[in-house]
Chain length 401, copies 4
Amino acid sequence: MALEEGSRTEQHRQKIWKALDDFRIEIPSWGFANTGTRFGKFSQPAAATSIEEKFADAAQVHALTGVVSNLALHVLWDLPNGTADVPKIQQLEQKTGIRSGSINPNVFQDQEYKFGSICNPSVEIRGKALSHLLASVEIGQALNSRDVSLWISDGSNYPGTQSIRRRIEWMEEVLASTHEALGPDQRMLVEYKPFEPAFYHTDIADWGMALELARRAGPKAKVLVDTGHHLQGTNIEQIVAWLLHLNALGGFHFNDRKYADDDLTIGSIDPYQVFRIFHEILSVRVEDRSAIAFMIDQSHNLKGKVEAMVQTVCTAQELFAKASLVDHEKLAELQDTCRLVEAEECFRDAFWQDVRPIVNEWREARKLPANPLHALAQSGYIERITEERGARNSASISSYA
Amino acid sequence: MALEEGSRTEQHRQKIWKALDDFRIEIPSWGFANTGTRFGKFSQPAAATSIEEKFADAAQVHALTGVVSNLALHVLWDLPNGTADVPKIQQLEQKTGIRSGSINPNVFQDQEYKFGSICNPSVEIRGKALSHLLASVEIGQALNSRDVSLWISDGSNYPGTQSIRRRIEWMEEVLASTHEALGPDQRMLVEYKPFEPAFYHTDIADWGMALELARRAGPKAKVLVDTGHHLQGTNIEQIVAWLLHLNALGGFHFNDRKYADDDLTIGSIDPYQVFRIFHEILSVRVEDRSAIAFMIDQSHNLKGKVEAMVQTVCTAQELFAKASLVDHEKLAELQDTCRLVEAEECFRDAFWQDVRPIVNEWREARKLPANPLHALAQSGYIERITEERGARNSASISSYA
Amino acid sequence: MALEEGSRTEQHRQKIWKALDDFRIEIPSWGFANTGTRFGKFSQPAAATSIEEKFADAAQVHALTGVVSNLALHVLWDLPNGTADVPKIQQLEQKTGIRSGSINPNVFQDQEYKFGSICNPSVEIRGKALSHLLASVEIGQALNSRDVSLWISDGSNYPGTQSIRRRIEWMEEVLASTHEALGPDQRMLVEYKPFEPAFYHTDIADWGMALELARRAGPKAKVLVDTGHHLQGTNIEQIVAWLLHLNALGGFHFNDRKYADDDLTIGSIDPYQVFRIFHEILSVRVEDRSAIAFMIDQSHNLKGKVEAMVQTVCTAQELFAKASLVDHEKLAELQDTCRLVEAEECFRDAFWQDVRPIVNEWREARKLPANPLHALAQSGYIERITEERGARNSASISSYA
Amino acid sequence: MALEEGSRTEQHRQKIWKALDDFRIEIPSWGFANTGTRFGKFSQPAAATSIEEKFADAAQVHALTGVVSNLALHVLWDLPNGTADVPKIQQLEQKTGIRSGSINPNVFQDQEYKFGSICNPSVEIRGKALSHLLASVEIGQALNSRDVSLWISDGSNYPGTQSIRRRIEWMEEVLASTHEALGPDQRMLVEYKPFEPAFYHTDIADWGMALELARRAGPKAKVLVDTGHHLQGTNIEQIVAWLLHLNALGGFHFNDRKYADDDLTIGSIDPYQVFRIFHEILSVRVEDRSAIAFMIDQSHNLKGKVEAMVQTVCTAQELFAKASLVDHEKLAELQDTCRLVEAEECFRDAFWQDVRPIVNEWREARKLPANPLHALAQSGYIERITEERGARNSASISSYA
């Protein structure tokens, strides 16, 4: 019995270590910045405001967890002058060991985009939006970054105020032109979202629309799944399974939600769902999942920014480790014979495992702290950046009224 | 002023009459039969139980409204012996002037389909399901009916109990084989539904999946939109706009809902939504909407069956008439210049019109009763069928326990 | 027939005129100010920024529609120095003929309220919040305003991070103390909201919680229903019926929504729902509905502010006029005999009436423009305030990053 | 380190054993019977059809898990002749060691209840419903059962067809009369549900309505929370916290759901939510939770009935064991100081523990099989009842058409 138990643990260890060695997460620069809701922002003294601070924070998260591959960059917020900043970014990459991740254009914030960007009835404004997308593609090339990540927030707030139909055509045009500009190793990821900031119709509202647009744009266009961008009840792992089946899954924006696009920490509301998504990914051949970008997109309104990010990547690792324990062969047999209860128990036996001891062992074997959150607290990093950045961040900021 | 008003009314009359002359609705045979919820059925003495009674009820609805083109048939309930019934049906068509509408296979009710039909892990059961689909295609051919309407209820109730991924492949195979059997004038319509009767994953859960499956099956496969088959908040008119854009809209199952797939009377909960869907349809060229099947799929649990159906088609006509009043040219101009409030008011000016007087005029001009519900009450039809069918229907029926 | 029709129209006229004469709406000062989403604000040159401008805009809306009773005031945004501004406000009231409406404390925006206001674990912060509420009560007394309107946004974002249970007790204490301070003619309205800005639990999440808190606070506390503050599918008119039954309905914040708390124009998404809410109100005795405050709470992010407000109050009037046409006696009889289709048709016959001609007549009889939106466009008001306020408002504002 | 680990495990063992010793679950007789959806029933040969078989199945579940206290009885399905069956039931109690649990009246199935039972406009039908409720109270007295569990499915399907307002009064009357009949040790539990089988309004739609009705009925009336009876997004643990705060929580109907009232196995979709509900219960004093009835209400459409029930109670035990591990003292301190990430990690550390080894130890110490599902499979029980009951159950049953 003890022996059996021991050999089972050894099997688990092998599966988990392998899974963790292969698992890389991209974190977003804006995860370290002050954010809020439309009712106001709670300013944090340790929040990052410059690109240097964001790279530094990312490096700190990586030092504690070993899982951070890249830092996603936001064009308007991080690269306001476009290509001019490339040398600086490259220097930061070298200094911190963190590479530039996906390039995120911003066509939702400028006053011109009040009625849409790439779907705006004005050909001038669509042109402006396209220029910004092309500039983003160039930045990506310059930084050797693979993915240009398109979140198009276009839509309308009231029935009848815009033509849903004609906007599809305008959008197709701009996306095709953007695709044409991609370099040989670049991809464009098309994100979808059912609502917010648009409250009646959002031009790219679901995975079906994103997929159509990606296909019409060209072969380097893939779909990006933000886990918070679904209506209540959506079976996200099924969409993931379909996109994998269609070879159209570009990557994820991970976060969790209870209501709308709440941008909470991954697995904080429904950890079993994350497990199921990871299971779908781990169910396909290694080569079919190698190009999936695992990105985080969260809004740490109340939690400490760096602390929340460390918690995030640790949670992702632990849930990925759990998913790696599923016995695919046994599960397939139980599924094929429709032994429902047994299949379910086989499946969630992996979820119920407390993988933390093995994950901690892996961390130590990789020269990482066994408890990254604890190590962060001990490191004095938060205190240091609080002091350095605090004065500048002290002003109370509000977005409302 | 009076003159202007008069010329506006004349314009409205022309638009509405034209719209109504072109508008045909298919009603379902099961709309006249006893139905219920899982908690029980409330049996109605006037409910139809035979195919003869269903044709008779449909003819009665048509006599009062002039809008019923076809009667949708359900293979298991209406045609239990397959092709053998064709001559009888043809006789009924001739007698009632009602044509056979879409053929609806049933692969959800037999005990074999407990774990799925065309997605069942068992190759035998998938084969059985395919046979039934092929028999339905044959029936369609024999009856000269254009559409085979596929509602596949397959899915699973618990995470891990079935392989979402592998079931996609099985489904693709069966649908391709079904498509192959279609005659030159036949189509297959692929319906989607997010849940119920499956409560964790439904194999064809949304329009994106239905579209993929239709495309892979072949050019005669189109998507069927049941208005009640969407998650809360879904913008259905946007999906309609996309399907029209992609030339992939086969038709509708109209009904209304407040919560889930409640199968209520069209427009009874959110009439403005029906208006918006009709507006999308009326926004494309006539030739691009000519092949759309307008079908009803409702469950008249509490309302009198024939009464509910007359109410249904009248409501559909009135909402269609309203939608026909939208001034497309003016609306496009206001949309293009982003004059939101004016565009919205232009749009819903059509909705706010009380079109009933003009619709009644049209009815009278077409030798139909001005008030079909009133005419039904006066006709004595309900009393007659209540007496004829009552004894047989008197038994209390319950589906639970 | 023509005679009958004429007498019916006359009956409608009498009902509608009476309804409109009794119908008063309170509009919010913040409806004229720049607002946005967390992704950014689209600044409008004509937006109001001072209390003077807000009173002026309200007066303009009233001049065009005759329906505006009061202007709701927001303590932090409109009355930053508390009682000191009272004389100024009184002057504005006199000048514009618009009275101060409900007083809206703000305990969600200050940095101290990051983890809650009246539910904050810190007794000091709860004390600070109470002080603000008491100051709001005093302002209300000074301005002779009846209602202090409490929207408490407190909550938490993650399971386990706060004690739901203990926060109930803290809240009860503060609300009881606030109630004690109310003058003899004052009321406090307790608003509820399921989520946003809190994303896991909101301390006052539904009408049941608001009702409990109101009762425990005391007899002058009533519940405030914001139509946008419900989960998808909630039957709002039923909650209204219950609150009327319990004599606990203080008033409304009207707006519309398709997804979350979208703060769209009333009736823009689901006008039939507004009609049903009005019907519940008109179903009780006049004296039982006399104390209901009809307030608007919308966020005009894209529409012109004054234009949107005129559209809003006109829509409210028209839907109220429709609801006034319901034949209560006939409806009750059909309901009691469970003649469903007839009852439904009787009910929505009122909704389908095009009441606009009669409403326009009423407007003219009351020396108001027949078409308020048209009159606004003709008035030159928007151009004037755009010029006056434009320079100051020209800066691009963004809440994100 | 090993020592520390050991002492932590010992602490866990003590907490879990204590929790499990105190935890009793009531299971429903209808959980062993054939059920389905409105689209059909998949008949199981081993399903129970008689009261004897249901007691036998319950006893089997108890023999394997030691957690089953009572068997909930359904008046119409289990006790069709009312009190006449009491001696037989008492015999079964004695024979099986399983006591009669809550008595569940059925006022939803008879044809008379088509338009409602205790809310029906007909005074006769309300009288009939009251008689049934009073008979249920008598049965409860005769069987020494504490709780009469009222699920009132009354409602309406279409706006305008019933008076929401007047139905409240009718309902209050009947419930008050039912309360009067309760014996000194009896309680009545008022259940709520947002929709199904009614699709527009359900007379007792949420916990606020149930609470009002319970209070007006009298002090022995409490609220019953069915976890599947909430709109998407509802924070159920918060409702539980409120009901505990108000001393109004009578008990639970546990099950899980992804979409509507799916009646799936507890914890099968969102196990973290069950953990959070248990945490709220374990957060109040022992005496404040002693009267809470933990009942199961699930519909095992596809899973084997007995197998599903064993899985259910094991899952409940394991999630209850997890919840018992929360360190309340430490958590309160972290909550009070708003150390969010630490509080969250403290909270879910309990959830992440793999409690199964300790639960298994407890089972063995209580002379129960360590793995109840495995033991069930080995026992031959399913084979035995399949053979005994199979012939009778073989007929294919369908509820549709």
